[in-house]
């Protein structure tokens, strides 16, 4: 234990890109929105990019159903919620499919190629469903907004993932499988049929055909054929996105709940983050239950409560306290286990807040906890 006071301010100072990552159900979106709102209140022009926010949070931020458009959060409503300031808060719900389509539109050398890619069944599945494409598109949009120079700070809420690699590896992965050398096989088969490619490749393809079915191969060949011309542009783009994630002005915040399973995910993610050399800023443990200062086995207290409430109710109240303290102890133990594992970065806790965190008032309450001085 150190007596050093830590604040999220130190972690976020000078950062232009803040990536909130973690498994599902830990309050990532709320945390991202609260940080963005607090930075806006401190005078920054800030945007939070969310994925599938809770309906009421989306309403609170004034986000429509349609994604991929930047919306400014009404300054008056921010002020009413205690989040007024000199900056601006913007928000956007990410639409991975639209981002991907827009990217194709920008990267395609001509309209014909663009249309061929957009209509290809393989592409349609890829842009919709494939694990990793949502992650990649989140980062792609982040990069695009960063390049626009319209914002001082970008806060990215990421898709929930138990597998850190899905996320961290996403930019490279897409570029890798569009890599032109391996594409030659499919492009050749698409253009000239299987007969004209090398013998080794032909036998490989015939095995693949046997295993998969010829139509799939043809779709793939067509897809890679159309995509081939865009490979360079894609690789280039992926390199820039990755460079942005590694930039000194970028920081990753890992968000977790104090539950054992979430902590295990966070620990896994933290290790992978370190392995990939990504800039780790802080671990935020949300919804930590705090113990009740009174002890349940205090005879004096028991007497007082019995006098005040009668025996049955006093016993129930003490029972409630016992439960709460048990869970608070569990939260503390899990949090401390995680603290011991952290290499670099800070650990910040946000207590379980009573009431609604899905409105602007709730965001203000979360922000107040995050930005207050914490002791380690």
């Amino acid at each position: 234990m150190t007596a050093r006071a830590k604040r999220i301010d130190g972690v976020l100072a000078g950062k232009r890109v803040i990536v909130c990552a973690g498994s599902g159900g830990v309050g990532k979106t709320t945390t991202a929105a609260a940080i963005a709102a607090a930075l806006a209140a401190r005078g920054q022009r800030t945007i939070v990019l969310t994925i599938d926010p809770a309906r009421r949070l989306a309403d609170a931020l004034g986000l429509p159903d349609l994604g991929n458009e930047e919306h400014r959060v009404d300054p008056e409503r921010l002020r009413d919620a205690g989040l007024g300031g000199d900056g601006e808060l913007w928000a956007m719900t990410l639409d991975a499919k639209r981002t991907f389509d827009e990217l194709i539109d920008r990267t395609a050398p001509d309209a014909e190629t663009r249309d061929a890619v957009l209509a290809n069944p393989i592409y349609r599945q890829l842009s919709n469903a494939v694990a990793g494409s949502q992650e990649y598109m989140a980062m792609e949009k982040l990069y695009e907004l960063h390049e626009s120079g319209r914002y001082d700070v970008l806060v990215l809420d990421t898709p929930p993932t138990r597998n850190a690699l899905d996320f961290l590896d996403a930019p490279g992965r897409l570029a890798r499988f569009i890599d032109s050398r391996s594409l030659q096989v499919f492009r050749a088969s698409g253009r000239a049929g299987l007969g004209l490619v090398g013998r080794g490749v032909a036998s490989m393809l015939s095995v693949l055909e046997k295993a998969t079915g010829v139509e799939l191969l043809r779709d793939l060949a067509e897809f890679f054929n159309a995509f081939g011309g865009m490979a360079e542009g894609f690789r280039d783009r992926a390199r820039h996105v990755e460079a942005l994630l590694r930039d000194d002005a970028t920081t990753f915040l890992l968000v977790t709940s104090p539950r054992a399973a979430a902590i295990a995910d966070a620990s896994h993610f933290h290790a992978k983050l370190a392995e990939s050399g990504m800039p780790f800023g802080a671990l935020i443990v949300n919804r930590v239950r705090e113990p009740v200062s009174a002890t349940a086995d205090d005879a004096e207290l028991e007497r007082e409560l019995t006098e005040l409430l009668g025996e049955p109710l006093a016993r129930k109240a003490l029972h409630d306290v016992g439960d709460r303290n048990l869970l608070a102890e569990r939260d503390l133990r899990n949090t401390e286990r995680m603290r011991a594992e952290l290499t670099g970065g800070e650990l910040l806790t946000v207590p379980e807040l009573s009431g609604d965190v899905h409105d602007l008032g709730g965001l203000a309450a979360v922000a107040a906890q995050l930005f207050k001085r914490q002791r380690s």
Partner: protein
Amino acid sequence: MDALLDRRLIFVTGKGGVGKTTVAAALGLAAARAGRRVLVCEVGDQERLTASFGLPAAGFREVEIEPGLHAFSVNPEDAIAEWLRYQLHSRTLAGLLGGSRIFQYLAMAAPGLAEMVTIGKVWELAQLERKTPSAAPYDLVIVDAPATGHGIALLRAPRTFAEIARVGPVNHQAEIVDGFLRDPAATAVVAVTLAEEMPVSETLDLEQRLYDELGLALDRVYVNALLPDRLKAAETRKLEAAIAGDGNANPSPSALAVLDASLAAHQTVRAQRSQLARLRRGLTAKALSLPHLLAADVGRDGLERLATKLERDL
């Protein structure tokens, strides 16, 4: 409607952090206690199930962790390799292909292949006639599936695949798996949720999406971690009065902390009840409740308790 334990496959999904693994494990325990030969299958690279039993991870192997109860963890890499071996009827050829860079690209590029081979392996585990050499069949397979969105993607994969590979062996296999998942006598999709706003919303959304996108009905929803309601209305009023200092009571700071905590606990319970009611209003499937374990960790004892509770309606 068939009893849950009479299906061949139970697919457990739900929002992240609601206790899917715990419920899947407790269901497995309950099924084993009912005399079924059962396998609990985890999906993905992070294995938690065996840890609840104090055992190391099972990996891509069927391991008996208790009498009648088995664990397995499916990952796309091993599932693809295994699928290729069956497909090509040749270990050498499969090894050659699986080890090839081009195939790796293909596997990543072919949309949904990872999901397809994953659900395909789950299907294989649930068959009475196993393809795995010398593997005994299970009465029941329980899948600890990924969270809502990825869970739906997994269920959708066979259909997606059948559409992309319009003819050929892949199409044929995908159709068979798809048919198995859609047969309510064979497969039950079960959701786990918490009685909190976002998980409830996601569960309602899940039921709708399963129906709209896949024509599947949710079999049931387990509402996990419900807290006990200790206070009657009159008792709540008494607490409030005591906090307000009515009747010249002047509680000490310690007593006040207890009163506040008890009232806060009661408010949490009430919030849970109202979310449970909201879930029931919006849900077609039945919602069954599971108690909060109020223990330091779930552990073997916790699973036993949940299994006992689950046994009442299987």
